[in-house]
Symmetry: C2
Subunit: 241 residues, 2 copies
């Protein structure tokens, strides 16, 4: 049994405004919540609609969990976590930078990819979707607990990083022919407009994925997957796990 | 103005059962509908809520379009198209085969990738989500009009194809070290269970994407992106566009 006020407070975390105000976010699903409990993130409330799924959780009814949930198909476990203090960028290894990615599924998938490919951090322009949005978290599959996601004014940050930035763009050089350094920044643009003009000015080079068919473009998360794979392939100094 | 019955009939196309019964499917959005009009697919009804977007379309109110739409954010154009006769598989070049992919966004993204990388056809096991599902179509961005998608009993089809099948699997050989032929089949498993045991028996080899971080797995569409890129990179006989 949960107080109505508590449910209301948890529901408010569906919205970015209240997440910022309360400094909290909501994670759903046994897998995601368990992964976050094993990360440095601090849990402030755990709820489960079945006994034995998660020992530390408060037992609630399915109806209560449904009220708290931001998902169309609520799972059996829900956790409230503290939003961590934003890290400062570290200029070593590879960084993924996102210029206005709006779709929560795309951002979550890109954070998961960054984790898979051992990317140091994900930088987001201020108009990129909030990484603590429940749909983003869902798509990260727990990687949000391992990869620092940092919101910054992208142009200035690229300019002062001291690292070469490579932007994904249809008219760029085919990525397979580009010699990539050990340390750098891969920049991906928004779903509808690609890279913004001001960000383009800060790039060392634009790179493209060769096409062999007729599709006009690739989704930003799949383009990111290919480019991250290619930059790992191209920098053999890195340890494969 | 559209008759209530017509709206009801169009709404029924949100469900696979009625799509099969009527032999029709629904496409939404100016870009998608325009792409399909430029494909060999046959249009059976076009609706627009604004004049001048699509000349051939019947003008309807926004409320009417909202009633027809399967999307949470309806666009201004909607088309009804005839489901084409299923093609027969052709065993030349590369084929993408999907073993139980359930998420509409993933299937649509994979069809778009197949189009980008000039894949000959997409084979789907019977338990793969329907490719004429409105969310699949949305994610294909029009590629559904260019790439044949064929539902088949996957095991038998692989067995009789005469081509080597390469399955994506975490314990497979790192894909960068595998010599890939000019013609073959790339097989991807389902989001939750990977490749089924019966499909595994028909494979020539399993291949994996090397990991450099801590994420447990990759989303099936991003894994597909990397493997399709790699097989194009590895078969230089192909023409890049």
């Amino acid at each position: 049994m949960v107080a109505k006020n508590e449910i209301k407070r948890i529901r408010s975390l569906h919205q970015k405004k209240y997440r910022s105000r309360l400094g909290l976010f909501l994670a759903e699903g046994t897998k995601l919540v368990t992964e976050l409990l094993n990360s440095p993130l601090e849990a402030c409330g755990l709820y489960a609609s079945e006994e034995g799924i998660l020992e530390e959780a408060v037992l609630v009814t399915e109806a209560e969990l449904r009220k708290m949930s931001a998902l169309s198909q609520p799972s059996k476990v829900l956790g409230v976590f503290r939003i961590p203090l934003q890290a400062s960028p570290v200029w070593q290894g590879w960084t993924l930078a996102l210029d206005g990615v709006r779709d929560p599924g795309n951002l979550g998938t890109l954070i998961r990819l960054a984790d898979w490919f051992g990317v140091r951090q994900v930088l987001c322009s201020p108009d990129t979707v909030d990484c603590f949005n429940p749909k983003v978290l869902q798509a990260t599959m727990g990687s949000i607990g391992r990869v620092p996601v940092i919101y910054v004014p992208l142009e200035e940050t690229l300019r002062h990083s001291g690292l070469p930035a490579f932007g994904a763009s249809m008219e760029g050089e085919s990525v397979g022919g580009v010699t990539l350094p050990q340390d750098g920044i891969l920049v991906l643009g928004s779903e509808s407009h690609g890279l913004s003009d001001t960000v383009r000015e800060e790039l060392a080079q634009t790179v493209a994925i060769p096409s062999y068919g007729q599709a006009e473009s690739l989704n930003v998360a799949t383009a990111g997957a290919i480019l991250l794979y290619e930059l790992r392939r191209g920098t053999p100094g890195l340890t494969q796990k």
